[in-house]
Subunit: 490 residues, 2 copies
């Protein structure tokens, strides 16, 4: 199995992205003659994140890509040789050079599937030395992806189905790949789009974005655009000087709003005109560079009404400071009054986008009934998962040579469940989720309509359940190094 051409280039993991102890244990296994013992590991989490009741499984596609390409290059082996004992048998390094995942089999929860504590996200089986080496990269690829997908899903549940959610946290992520992973998996978790262009290019995530304060403040108003003319939307008729047209509208708008025509910042208006010249069909105003009420809003209306005369409709406004909900209500009122005053009905419903450190609590407020907010940009809160910035997934040995393995430790919570397992989702007659059941692989599968005796984690005694439907949860996605087709999805 040759390393495939990786279309995502730098965004992938590589074999040395691992903890050193994986390499020292590899030498230990090899020295003990156990490198090729058949082993099985489970990757799972112990508690649902954010004090919640669910997680979403994610990162599987990245894992499969990593596994298919897994090979230690000469430079990798040389580096390992430099940190292992100098008298290490050279045959060990030859063994490392020969490694790939052609004997590795992976079963997994499908990408985006609901996941619960203890149920494996991945079951990884193959030669002991190889599947041990895979621990850290697999944890690294699954843990954060699942965490951020879960976080995004929680935010989507709070926002409700109508609000458009934009992920814009690249600058707050743990470096380039943290940002790419966040954008990819917040989309999986229910966001509509991302600001991250690379996520669009590499992962097909819809991208969105308009302008920042720097664009607005970069204009003083004295700039002379090389071509101030804009043709009508229908393409017929003469072009119009948009800045001059906006200036005319500004007087009407200021009279309507009771503002002096000198109050709105001329640089802000010039910036809006420049943006509208570049994006006449997608003009959006960022209103809070100076003052929303006395500058951003009248300047936006002047440019939007000038565009409207040419047959173009503005697509939105954005706020990035202050009381976002309150301002959105006020702006909507102004839009309604201006729509009536200037007889441009579409102005009433121009979408209002907001951003500014929005967390779950702030989102709940913005999503409340009657809110005039339409689009919500979330950065830090979705990307860094501040309520719980790690899912804490673990990767535990459950069998060697078909024999179960168990860790006891000094913390009961860290004990592992021994043996190779199967997992099933039990559903009620209305399709609702009753529970997930974990059992030994050799036990008979639960049957629809038949009573099953189960022992919920932490319960003092077993109980019975009669599922209307039973779904196997762990799907084959890599069999002896070959990718299963079609890849499992939820």
């Amino acid at each position: 199995m040759a390393a495939e051409q990786d279309p995502e280039g730098r965004a992938a993991a590589r074999p040395l992205l691992t903890d050193l102890y994986q390499a020292t244990m590899a030498l230990g296994y090899w020295r003990a003659g156990r490198a090729r013992d058949a082993a099985e590991f489970e990757l799972f989490f112990r508690r649902c994140p954010f004090g919640g009741a669910f997680a979403l499984a994610a990162g599987l596609r990245d894992c499969v890509r990593f596994l298919r390409a897994f090979r230690l290059r000469d430079a990798d082996v040389q580096f390992l040789a430099s940190v292992l004992p100098p008298d290490t048998d050279p045959a060990f390094f030859e063994h490392l050079r020969s490694l790939d995942c052609s004997e590795v089999t992976v079963r997994a929860l499908p990408e985006g599937c609901l996941a619960f504590p203890g149920v494996p996200l991945l079951q990884v089986s193959g030669p002991l030395l190889v599947v041990q080496l895979l621990e850290t990269p697999l944890l690294c690829l699954v843990s954060y992806a699942s965490l951020v997908a879960t976080n995004a899903a929680r935010l989507r549940l709070i926002a409700g189905p109508e609000k458009r959610l934009l992920e814009m946290g690249l600058r707050r992520a743990q470096g380039p790949d943290g940002g790419l992973t966040a954008s990819t998996y917040s989309y999986l978790g229910g966001f509509d789009s991302s600001s991250n262009v690379l996520a669009g290019q590499l992962r097909g995530v819809p991208v969105a974005g308009t302008l920042a304060h720097s664009f607005v403040t970069s204009f003083s108003g004295s700039e002379v655009p090389p071509d101030p003319m804009l043709a009508p939307a229908a393409g017929e008729g003469p072009g119009v000087d948009l800045a001059a047209k906006a200036q005319v509208w500004l007087e009407h708008v200021c009279a309507h709003l009771g503002l002096g025509v000198q109050e709105p910042h001329p640089g802000e208006r010039a910036a809006f005109v420049a943006y509208a010249l570049a994006f006449p069909r997608a003009f959006q105003g960022l209103l809070d560079s100076y003052s929303v009420r006395r500058s951003g809003l009248p300047n936006f209306l002047a440019v939007a009404l000038a565009l409207g005369e040419l047959g173009y409709r503005a697509v939105g406004v954005r706020l990035d400071s202050g009381d976002l909900l309150q301002q959105a209500q006020e702006i909507r009122k102004v839009f309604r009054a201006a729509a009536a005053q200037f007889q441009v009905p579409w102005l009433e419903s121009v979408p209002i986008a907001v951003s500014n450190n929005i967390d779950e609590e702030a989102l709940a407020r913005l999503a409340q009934e009657g809110s005039e907010v339409n689009v919500i940009g979330i950065g830090t809160s979705v990307v860094t998962c501040p309520q719980q910035p790690s899912l804490g997934c673990v990767y535990k040995l459950v069998a060697v040579g078909g024999q179960p393995r168990m860790k006891l430790t000094e913390d009961p919570e860290k004990q592992t469940l021994p043996g190779s397992k199967a997992a099933f989702r039990l559903l009620g007659s209305d399709g609702s989720l009753l529970m997930d059941v974990l059992q030994l692989a050799e036990e008979p599968a639960p049957q629809a309509g038949q009573e099953l005796r189960v022992w919920p984690p932490g319960a003092q005694e077993p109980c019975t359940v009669r599922p209307a439907q039973v779904e196997p949860l762990l799907r084959l996605c890599l069999q002896q190094g070959q990718v299963a087709t079609p890849p499992p999805s939820c």
Copy 2:
């Protein structure tokens, strides 16, 4: 300036790792004829992280590497064309194809330097369109690097100078690069080593690691190693069957500890023997797979004493569960008693390493006077910075064409300080830091020994200070695209 060969391959950022609004603004600037206007941005943070009083500047090296390689490839430009209006002037895309950082100049706080709110970590000047496009990648490269370096420095201050600190958070990071960045900058911040092999290979960070519970539990005790013989450390004399030798020592150890010889788990002992055969000069025991007192500790002592007979010294034990401080005290007592009993004085001071979700509070306990803990492994707490998972750096336009620019907004805290600036560190006669001073670039620099009138942020009135030394803080690191040599360091 051609894109250099990047020795770190996938670990770097690339130009499309940016927010879409940088590209839409680029089109806006270009349409307005302002692409080449001279602009200056400042990258800074508004508050010290973690409720603390300092931060460390970091990520500069990554920024310089990114800037030197900055070029949009054809595929990048094509992707941007696919998300910008279809009637966009093709000359704009030609302009994008021609971009590089050959007209960009960067001044920066040196890598690892103490940093305070408002003082720029980076000052970036150059053509408006280009320096705008750089916003998101520079924020992405600086923010988390500085955050994790600061977090590591705080942990080092709590631990004191003697404890060895190991970063082991790769599996908890935001994907591959989050892990690499965390390892790199926690080393910068004061950690001794990392478990992350890639950080060793690519960044020269010292790497460390031994064995996990999976290695221990993978052994049942019935395994037969292909070569159980170990030669003496001095290299002379016949080899010895280490497992047999450890079995003999086990009886002495159990008698000494008052344990039955059947109590210690034979699989754990087999694992220790296997590890010792691979690493006779670096044997370390992980003690808590089954029971520290009744299994891990006697098995470790048996193997360590067998190795000792051959002239090797064990290098450590590790605990990953339970009350780490208390167990370390008990283990040290056992080591002292066994050292006396078996006349192996080195056993007294075998280092004790601990791990298990150690945060600032737990670290303070482990570092208290009299603690017998020597090495502390920290993962989640250093990598995810759970107290504050984002530094919240911003990148603000301060001048265009030599004219100052300012944002007011609806939040006073989000207002920017206009104009191109210089920054100085004022020191007392004993070298202690008095304050950092931010002033306009054209103002005369503060002079050592001369009284200076300053206005601390938030103060009601100015005060005076007389520094014994004055250091300029912002050092040239990229001049018109050329890397300044030597690169600035603290």
